[in-house]
């Protein structure tokens, strides 16, 4: 069963709870120098006091044709055939950062041992029927994980991956 992350920018208030939940789930400690897998930020649209403000919450987009998989010289990254998540085994990671140069969304991070770490879609939770930590904690339901089969045309504007590749509100300018 393949999944898709959704982000409804009309619901996201930029509270950052998702990023904190992600740190908690993955034992990421920014005060020790760890980089957070999930990042939240404000998007300025236009200028002036009436300019609309939107927020984005972004981590790995779990691209279908993930460039990081092809970029890794040591074969640490792969697509999980069940979930569609981009997963990794860092045993042979040499810390070359090639995955970072391949990723259009700054998803790969490196731990204190210099090995790659990133959002794996909370695959262990999802396999056990639970939601990813970021989705579970979102107070407004802005972040969701849906099965690909139930992903309808009306939700296209909310696909996190499409949002990342395009302007806001799902105005599609590039291929998925």
């Amino acid at each position: 069963m393949s999944y898709i992350f959704l982000l409804d920018t009309r619901k996201c208030i930029g509270c950052g709870a998702c990023a904190v939940a992600c740190m908690d789930q993955n034992d990421v400690q920014p005060q020790e120098g760890d980089e957070p897998f999930r990042q939240c930020f404000v998007i300025e649209q236009g200028s002036g006091k009436d300019a609309p403000v939107r927020y984005l919450s972004m981590a790995c987009m779990h691209c279908a044709q993930a460039p990081c998989v092809q970029g890794c010289p040591a074969g640490c990254l792969k697509k999980d055939t069940d979930t569609g998540f981009t997963v990794y085994d860092q045993t042979n990671c040499i810390g070359c950062h090639s995955c970072a140069m391949a990723c259009p969304f700054a998803a790969p991070c490196f731990d204190r041992a210099g090995k790659m770490v990133k959002c794996d879609g909370c695959i262990e939770r999802v396999r056990r029927g639970m939601q990813p930590a970021c989705v579970r904690v979102c107070p407004y339901g802005a972040l969701q994980l849906v099965e690909k089969e139930t992903f309808g045309a009306g939700q296209r504007g909310k696909s996190a991956r499409l949002l990342a590749y395009t302007a806001l509100d799902g105005e599609r300018t590039d291929s998925e």
Binding site: L56, Q70, C103, P104
Partner: protein, 420 residues
């Protein structure tokens, strides 16, 4: 049933075999490999030599038997290919046996470059391209007694060899004929910043120093200076392995076109029907010049091999090309060069505590970027530059702008390089 030949089995050869097998479950795929080793990235040699990786960690697609079984390959590792007979779409094996195929991929990679005169000094030297090279250096270091070393060539490999020697307590000199480090990827200003950091760490750097001979005592420079060393490693660069199709007498048909590599179109076809080339031995499209060039990078070889395999199996596939790009992690630093640094334009730069971004823009459009000390945002910038050259939206998406800001860039600088 179609007969395919793949000559050379690195990243490009593997990806071609996998693509062919996906599209043609019953075709015969003959793989000719002179090493019999599974595909691996030559960049990993320094990691093996420095004991950061053991042998089983060097092969990202698994062992040869496993690959052979999964993709149903006929593997010929004990028969060297003498030449590719382009007119008859055949392969001549050592011993004279000829075998014909429906499609032939040349994926022979590249070799370490050793200028002839360097061999004449009578001194021993090391290279860093093959697993044998890495094993040889590792054994030599294990023997001990290496106190001083000279690395010839300030390449991405040279700097890593210098680092692994340095970390073993060896006194290292890095000598290069170029005026500064990484001249094919770095601006002079970025190179100077890197050089300063390296010198602070105690690395001896000599530029504009043409090495004329490797002697039993070390190296001799063209200006007469000598550098004493217990160990010399040549990391001057690579040369595409084009011998199988070069200098062969063609009685009918035409020769395969070769410049610095085998010239291919967007479908990885050479000028001779049925003969394809991919990976470090070939010249695909450089998006910045529109001309062909060798862009010897792992991901590029994979994409080219995949494209070649699809076309060989009858599917229509185009690989639009690539740009020069590189990320090098050395001495706890990151240098990223995106695009050709020698293209003209206006320079702009951004300095933040811990990292520097410099860019060259021509008529407001990005031509190249140097990033020093910030790997995380490198992929966003590379994607942006590639997309612009492919004729897509030349502006960074709001998400990418937000990520760049989170990565430490100012909004003004993002707008500038983002095409606004």
């Amino acid at each position: 049933m179609k007969n395919y030949a793949i000559v050379g089995f690195g990243c490009a050869g593997f990806h071609a075999a996998r693509a062919i097998r996906q599209l043609d479950p019953s075709g015969r795929i003959a793989v000719f490999s002179d090493t019999g080793q599974p595909p691996f990235n030559p960049m990993l040699t320094t990691y093996y030599a420095s004991e950061k990786l053991e042998l089983d960690g060097v092969f990202p697609f698994g062992g040869m038997e496993e690959i052979q079984r999964k993709l149903s390959l006929e593997l010929y590792s004990d028969m060297r290919v003498r030449r590719v007979d382009t007119a008859h779409r055949s392969i001549e094996l050592e011993g004279g046996q000829m075998r014909g195929f429906d499609a032939i991929l040349i994926a022979t990679g590249a070799s370490a470059l050793v200028p002839g005169p360097l061999r004449r000094g009578g001194g021993d030297f090391f290279l860093m391209r093959t697993l044998n090279d890495a094993q040889r250096l590792r054994r030599r270091l294990e023997q001990g007694g290496v106190k001083r070393a000279v690395v010839v060539g300030g390449s991405m490999v040279g700097i890593k060899v210098a680092e692994l020697l340095y970390r073993r307590g060896v006194e290292v000199t890095l000598a290069d004929g170029a005026p500064y480090l990484f001249p094919l990827a770095a601006y002079e200003s970025t190179a100077h910043a890197i050089q300063q950091r390296l010198e602070e760490r105690g690395l001896d750097l000599i530029f504009r120093a043409q090495v004329s001979a490797v002697t039993p005592k070390g190296v001799t420079l063209a200006d007469g200076r000598t550098l004493e060393a217990d160990l010399v490693c040549l990391c001057i660069g690579t040369r595409a392995n084009v011998e199988l199709v070069a200098n062969t007498q063609v009685l009918e048909g035409e020769n395969v076109q070769i410049e610095r590599g085998i010239v291919v179109d967007e479908g990885m076809r050479t000028n001779v029907p049925g003969i394809y080339a991919a990976g470090d031995c070939c010249e695909g499209v450089n998006l910045q010049t529109g001309k062909t060039a060798v862009i010897g990078l792992w991901a590029n070889a994979g994409a080219q091999g995949d494209c070649a395999g699809r076309n060989m199996a009858g599917q229509f596939c185009r690989y639009y090309g690539n740009i020069l790009h590189n990320i090098t992690h050395f001495f706890d630093m990151d240098f990223i060069g995106l695009g050709d640094p020698n293209l003209p334009g206006e320079r702009c730069s951004f300095r933040e505590k811990g990292f520097t971004v410099e860019a060259i823009l021509e008529d407001g459009k990005l031509n190249s970027i140097n990033l020093f000390g910030n790997y995380r945002i490198s992929g966003i910038l590379k994607n942006h530059l590639t997309k612009r050259l492919l004729g897509g939206e030349a502006r960074l998406t709001p998400a990418q702008q937000g990520l760049l800001a989170a990565g430490g860039l100012s909004r003004a600088f993002i707008r500038r390089i983002g095409g606004e």
